[in-house]
């Protein structure tokens, strides 16, 4: 078993969809995609974003570009101009997910 940082095997982009944030994570290679497929479960991602994501987490697979798309519901403090958050559009949340460390 060794620990790897998600940021070393993947990149991504995030943005807003109303009060939900979308977080796209893209693996650099096939092996990386296997790892994120196995370890980035909705439960794990929900736990990672504890205190940030207050709703459900949905996961969608995009094997064609070795990517997973997560929708984090109830995350942006109401979204749009309603939100008082500095990052009201969730632009930095892809980086936040890439902080995760994984045992492989």
């Amino acid at each position: 078993m060794s620990k790897i940082k998600l940021i070393d095997i993947a990149h991504g982009r995030s943005g807003d969809k109303g009060d939900a944030a979308n977080v796209g994570i893209i693996a650099y290679d096939d092996k990386g995609y296997e790892i994120i497929m196995k370890h980035l479960t909705t439960e794990r991602v929900k736990k990672h974003f504890e205190g940030i994501c207050l709703g459900e987490v949905e996961r969608f697979e995009m094997p064609n570009i070795r990517a997973l798309n997560f929708l984090l519901h109830n995350t942006l403090g109401g979204g749009g101009t309603v939100s008082l958050k500095h990052d009201a559009q969730g632009k930095t949340l892809a980086a936040a997910l890439l902080r995760m460390e994984i045992e492989v």
Partner: protein, 453 residues
């Protein structure tokens, strides 16, 4: 009929780099320039401007841009498609006509697409079964109907194709989808049929890659961002589209930025939901069918795209006033920067409470410590400075204004080594809440017109 066209992205939002459109039409061959100006709440901001001044309500930047590019597009016969008409496409066209006349450009056709603004016909539409309940929360339209400040249907490529067919060289629209600005030219030039779902979907995906400008050519790139060359002179993406539905994403030579499988992949992920059904007015695109191949430096082939039939519904974007917010910032320095900021927050909250002010929400963040990543942020033993950011929201304008008066006094009556209050009192901003909905397509029709310079 052409078998290849080059569509250049000139703007990713209202306020994007002003130099790009001119660069796109002069630094290399292009057939079309598409420019997106509209985000979710932009229409309501433009609607408000139009209320104050009936001649306003469109992307004003567009007039300066047109001044710069009109001679080149006239000379090279480049077509321009943009939704910068916003809440007042005709007002926008009138200004462009004036520009053209000053430059001596006569006989150029401008296509105008309107009919998306349904604010004044809501009662009638609701009687005819428009629905319009909030598609995300399920809330009833009757809850907000009286407070609405804008209501616009997202039209797709059909009205744009119609004016292109009539010979328009410039197309100015109200609320058309961002992606339609790219795929309408493909449908027009390649004579694709309206039920050729795979090709329509390919056009939509090309549109998704272009609609955020530099975000697919090295901007906001979270991969190896340090490897992106010369972002100061970033080249915006260009879709080299082919008759068979394949396209290549590239950019002009001698510009900065980069186009790679990684930069394009990141843009594909931007603001999407279920990737198997990206719904547009003309088709449903399947993002899981997209194949990417790096052909050479700054050239990425996009192919294999599948689509499905469109739905019977248009998306409608509405906005309403929902109270006020204000944000105050103060900077605290070493020693004990964070401790001071926390103390200031505590003092401020006590004073707000003593004044009897009521807020729906008060939010405190510490910029430099944990504002972006919350509890995930790394713990630091000693930080040099921290920005206390405190925001409030209330339906009462008075309370939000009163909050603004409580920030500066903290400098002389709170914890020490505080600075960063050069901007004056935080002002109460109107909250514009977004109300997405759906309505049957048969209830509303775009209007098109041709104006000749």
């Amino acid at each position: 009929m052409k078998d290849k066209i080059r569509i250049a992205s000139g703007s990713g939002f209202w306020g994007d780099l002003q130099s790009i459109p001119y660069q796109q039409v002069t630094k290399g061959p292009v057939d079309y320039l598409m420019m997106d100006f509209l985000a979710e709440v932009t229409m309501s901001i433009m609607q408000k401007q139009k209320k104050r001044n009936p001649a306003a309500g469109y992307a004003k930047d567009l007039i300066q841009i047109m001044k710069e590019i009109l001679p080149s597009i006239a000379e090279k016969n480049i077509k321009v498609v943009t939704n910068g008409g916003g809440a007042n496409p005709m007002g926008c066209v009138e200004e462009i006509v004036k520009c053209a006349h000053k430059l001596g450009i006569k006989g150029m056709k401008i296509g105008v697409v309107t009919g998306d603004d349904i604010l004044d016909s809501l009662d009638d539409l609701l009687k005819r079964g428009a629905g319009l309940d909030n598609m995300e929360s399920g809330q009833k339209i009757s809850d907000v109907k009286e407070k609405l400040i804008s209501a616009n249907v997202y039209f797709g490529a059909r009205p744009i194709v119609e004016v292109l067919k009539k010979g328009a060289q410039i197309v100015i629209t109200g609320r058309t989808t961002d992606t339609s600005l790219t795929y309408a030219p493909m449908i027009h030039e390649f004579k694709w049929s309206w039920d050729d779902w795979d090709k329509l979907a390919a056009g939509v995906i090309a549109g998704h890659i272009l609609e955020c400008g530099g975000q697919s050519s090295g901007g906001n790139f979270l991969g190896d961002w340090k490897s992106v060359p010369d972002l100061a002179h970033i080249g915006f993406p260009i879709a080299e589209a082919y008759l068979n539905g394949e396209f290549v994403i590239t950019k002009h030579q001698n510009t900065g930025g980069m186009v790679s499988v990684e930069t394009v992949s990141e843009q594909l992920m931007y603001e999407i939901g279920d990737p198997t059904s990206y719904i547009t007015p003309e088709c449903i695109a399947d993002f899981t069918s997209i194949k990417l191949e790096q052909l050479e430096k700054d050239r990425v082939r996009v192919y294999g795209i599948k689509g499905k039939p469109a739905t019977d519904l248009f998306k409608v974007s509405m906005a309403y006033n929902d109270g006020y917010t204000a944000i105050g910032n103060l900077t605290y320095s070493w020693p004990d920067a964070l401790e001071k900021a926390k103390k200031a927050d505590e003092i401020l909250r006590t004073r707000l409470s003593d004044l009897g002010l009521k807020f729906e929400e008060i939010k405190t963040e510490f910029l430099g410590v944990n504002a972006c990543h919350g509890p995930l942020a790394a713990k630091q033993n000693e930080i040099n400075e921290v920005v206390l950011r405190i925001g409030v929201r209330s339906n009462h304008h008075h309370d939000v204004e009163a909050f603004g008066k409580e920030i500066a006094p903290l400098i002389l009556t709170g914890p020490p080594s505080v600075t960063g209050f050069a901007g004056g009192r935080p002002k109460a901003n109107e909250v514009i809440a977004y109300w997405p909905a759906l309505m049957p397509k048969k209830l509303v029709h775009p209007k098109v017109e041709i104006i000749t310079t």
